[in-house]
Structures are given as structure tokens and as C-alpha cells.
């Protein structure tokens, strides 16, 4: 399984701060996430892809976007708002 932690608008939209989904390619993880947390569609996840309003980073370190990228079992993904500025 992959743990997805949510922050900012994604958390607000989802109404959850963390959820577990099966490991696999990023595209399948996003599909699973959108099914588990419908509030993320369509502004955060659209057609199985992350919208431009959000970013996802493996363990908060590496921002990933390639839908083919395999996320290993046991990994943590951090889902945040794309607008980082302050």
C-alpha cells in the first residue's frame, strides 16, 4: 500500500488528511485516490491526472508527474496545493 498525506486545499476538498491506496503506477494511484475521496475531482484530480492546481511528492522530497512512474509499496506521497508562494 501507499500512504497519501493531504495538505492545504487537497485536504480541505477531501475532508481527510491521509488515506491508503494500493501501490502501482502514479496514474492508478490517482484513480484510486479520486474514487476514495470524490471531493478531489475535478479540480485536484482530473481524468486520472493531477491538475495544475496540485503537486504530489514522494515522501515530500521528489515532485512527480509522470503517470507511468511506479510508486513502491510502503511509500508515502504528499499531496499539496501547487500555489506555494507566500
Amino acid at each position: 500500500m501507499v500512504t497519501v498525506e493531504l495538505y492545504g486545499v487537497p485536504r480541505l476538498r477531501a475532508g481527510a488528511s491521509s488515506v491508503e491506496v494500493p501501490a502501482g503506477k502514479l496514474a492508478s494511484i490517482l484513480h484510486a485516490l479520486a474514487s476514495a475521496l470524490p471531493g478531489l475531482s475535478p479540480d485536484i484530480i482530473r481524468d486520472g491526472r493531477l491538475s495544475e492546481h496540485a503537486l504530489v511528492a514522494i515522501d515530500g522530497r521528489e515532485v512527480v508527474a509522470d503517470p507511468e512512474r511506479v510508486i513502491a509499496d510502503g511509500a508515502t506521497l504528499v499531496l499539496i496545493s501547487a500555489a506555494a508562494g507566500g
Partner: protein, 604 residues
Amino acid sequence: MRGNFGRILLVELRGDRVAVEHVPLAPQVYRAFVGGVGLGAYLLWRFAPPGVDPLAPAAPLVYAFSPLLGTPLTTTAKFAVLCKSPLTGRISDGLSSSRFAIAAKRLGVDAIVVRGALDRLSWLHLDEDPAACRAVPCPAWAGLSAHELSDMASKQGLFRHVSAVGPAGERQVRYATISNDGRHAGRGGAGAVLGAKRVKAISVRGAAVAGVADAAGVQARARDLAARSAGAATEKYRALGTAANLETFDRLRILPRRNFQTVSIGQAAARRLAPEGLARAAEHVRESCAGCTIGCDHRYGGTRVEYETQFALGPLVDVDDPSRLLAAAGACDALGLDTISVGGTLAFAMECAERGLVDWPLRFGDDIVPWLGAIARREGLGDLLAEGTRRVAAAVGHGSERFACHVKGLELPGYEPRAMQTFALGLCVASRGADHNRSGAYQADLQPGVDRYRADVARAPARVIEAEDHAALLDSLILCKFLRGAIREPWREGAELLTMVTGLSQGEGDLRRVARRIAAVRHAFNVREGWTLAEDRLPDRFFDEALEDGASLRRADVAAMVDAYHAARGHVPHGGPDERLRRELELDAWLTDTPPLQAPASLG
């Protein structure tokens, strides 16, 4: 040309007298610099005597408006304030929103340049009718916050919109702000410059309208932009405000804590200081700047909190109690202190004390509110702390410069450069010192394909330049940066807006050259004021102390990125714009040393 008036107001202060003069500007100035920080940088170059002491009467303070100001376009009720910074000795340019911006442009001018100084603390009234401009001594207003001043003045019917300094500006604290209807401008100490001129407050009265060239087009675009500003791209700002960054940054391990010693305060503390935690500590309301359809202004118990304030008065000084943080933020507002600089200076002083380098009664986690008052009034140790981190480090010595977290004298904003190495370059080269607003290069570190823990000498300079140029575009038009997510093609849309408003046809390529010209003029100003390559650097801490996860910066990498940045910008090694850049951007026409204009004749 519409959208601008084609002239500025030159205000000369001497003794108890005020003289004003309208100075015409050629249309080429607007083509070359647009407005806001661009126009302001040009005017600062022309009006600041080379090498001037930033707090001397001869040092100008520039209020620069923009062509979009006064139109129905969302987030445009803003202006720029520029000066030579008393904190850094380099260019300082801040932006502020407010109804004051709208009222001031109605003086019928595109900028106000204030020079000279008065004998006594006074209220400066500027009027569309030059004969009605005056300075009124106001000793009874000494020590008032800008907010108290506004309240009192509107009750007495004196003025409605005001640009004013709090106690910190009066005492020339080097990082004092100018408050404009409750919104502050002045990273780098513009408030000290106004205070040095003994101006407590500026009020304005006028009814001039610059108009727009294509009224129907502007109206339609205003509706369209307002609709876009209500979409998902700006939801973070509306729903949570920038204060939502704190918990996210804690998780990303980029949240500086204890004077940049570590990068996390832990999940529980981060949640306490996050918007939800602040709302538990005090009543939450959302407001917005004048003419804004986003509304990112989240207030808790009446105090506006945004990320940089939250970081600097919270984790940076190791405060994790929301009530204490809110009290400190409220005090900075009232006193007119830049929150990043005061938080950074206090954090540095706390570390000096904890290391035993000084015997000051200051420790991480202390309630800082009493210190804020002492700094603003320059009482006791507050007098030294009012000088900012760089000067405090020089006074403390004992190698404390190693962990004095500033660039060019400006304290660092709330992003850890060891874990954001593109932004590390942005901090080094930013013209006003460690800065996140004129660059925004932190965005580049949070993109797919960017390894933020690696200094990418080949690509980072171009990323920083693009971020700086994008910011220069928005800051000269002026549009709020929080709208940027709703503007997919900023250069194209910027050109369209400008053409619609002014009637001067400008394309994307023209605006890209404008942005580069603004960067060149800022850099040239700094070179003229003594800049050397040696100041484009971060303190030793970031190279010699690794974060818990091993991240650190390498001196050779950062130096290589800085060199590559200057080469890509077209600067001669260790100097200003090179021959090609001067030609391409027609800089010789703008960077002239011809004295601009003498004092208005009425001052003799």
C-alpha cells in the same frame, strides 16, 4: 496615452515648507518601464544622488503607481514604494494594496517623489492643486500606530486614506514599514526613510482620472479576470490564505526553525499554527484588499496573518503558541515593523545569547512582544536590534556572522535554501537582498523533474531569471501575484491589458524586454551604490551545517550558479550591464547621470 498622466509629482521638504512641482515624463518612459516597480526603479536611479545616505534628506522616497491602477481590473489597487534601503544600502522596492493607492493616483500623477526633510514631525497633505499642498506639524501624533492615526483622523474628518509610519518609522528602525490603510510596504525600511523626513502621514486629495483607451475591452476583461480569480487556481488563498503553507512546508522539511538551525517544528505544533489552529485561538474573518475579488486576507482576532509573518514570529523564534504569535503579529502591525526582519533579527540575537556570546535575556521560545516595543522605540538593547541582523552581528563579533541569516543585510524569508537550491540562487542574486517577492524562484524547486537538493548550475540561472522577469512584469503592471495561477500566458495577457488601458500597442516581446530592463536598472543602481559580487552569497551556516537529512549547499556550486546567472543576465564580471545588454535595452538612454531636476523654484 491613457492609463497614465504623463507626469509625476516632485515634493521637496525643507524646514516647515513644502514645494511641489509637476515633472513631465515622455511616453517612452512608460514603454520602457510600464509602472510600479519598473517606473519606480527608473525614478530612483534619476533622483537618488549616487552614494546618498538612505536616511539623509537628499535621499528620495518614491511612490510609483501603475497604468492598471484605477481600472476595474481585479487586484490592481496597488502601488510600489522605492528607496535606497537603510538596511541594505541597495535598492528597496515594496508593494502595497490600499484605497490610498486609488486616491493617490487621482492627484493626476503617475508617481510621487519625496525629497528633503521637515524640521518637525508633520502630516504632509498632497493635493491636486499644488497651492493646497502643505505640511502640518503634528507632535501629538508621535507614537501613534498607523491604525490609531487613521481612526483619529477619520473621526476628526481630517482625511480618509493615509500612508503613514508607526513608532518604528519615527525612530528610523532600519526595517520599519509604511502602512497604507492597514497594508504594509517596506521590506528594507522604507518607513525609516519617511520617518527620517519627519513625515508621520501622507494624505491625498484629487479627482483626476487617467481613463482607459478601450473602455469596453477593459470592462470585458475585468469580468473575465474576476471570474478566473474565483476558480481553483486561487482557492488556496481564498479558503486558507498563505498561512496554509506552514504545515505543508513543515512536511516538506523546508520550514526554517530556530534561526535556520532545523527545518521542522513537528506535526502537532504545525497544526497548532495552521489556519485551523489559529481559528481555534481567535475569531477568524476573511477580508480583501481594495478592488480584489480573491480575498486572501485572513484575520484572526482582527490580526492579519500570512505565511511569512507566521514563520518569522513563530518557528523562526521557536514560538508555537498561536496566541503569542497573533499578539506579536498585531504588535508588528501597530508598531510598523517588517515581520521577517524583526523575527530574523530576534532569532539571531536568541542564538547569540544561547551560545553564550552575549548575556542578553533572550531565549528561543520567549514571548517577543515586549522586545518588539523596545525595538520600535529603540529602548535599551532594542536600539541595537533595530539595526537589523547584519549590524547586530558586526557588534557581537566572535564569528556570529556565520549564522547571521541575511543576504545584503536583508533577513531571509521562510524557505530553507539547503533544501531549495534553485531558490538559494534566487536569494543570492536578488537586487533587494534575501527576497522571495521579486523572484519567486521557490516555485521552480517544487516542479516535477527538479531535484531541489541539488544545485543545478546549468539550469538554475535560467529558472531564476524567468521567475524574476515574471515578477517584474506583474509588479510593474501591477497585478497581485496571487492571481498568477489564473493567468496562463502572462506575457501575452499583460501586453493585451496594457494596450487596452494605455492605447500604446505593446507585444509580448516588448514586455519581456521591459522586464529585463527593470532587472538591469535595479542591478545598475546597486552597482552604483557599491555592490560587489562578494555580497551575492548566503551565510556560512548554509554551507557548513548540514540539515538532519544531510542536505547542505556547496560553496563552489553556489558561486558557479551566481557567476552563470550574471553571465546569462548580460552583466560584465563583477559589474553592471555589458555592452550588448546596454545596446539591446537602450540602457544608456535611461541610465544617464544627468541630474534630473532641481528643487522646485518656490523653495529657492
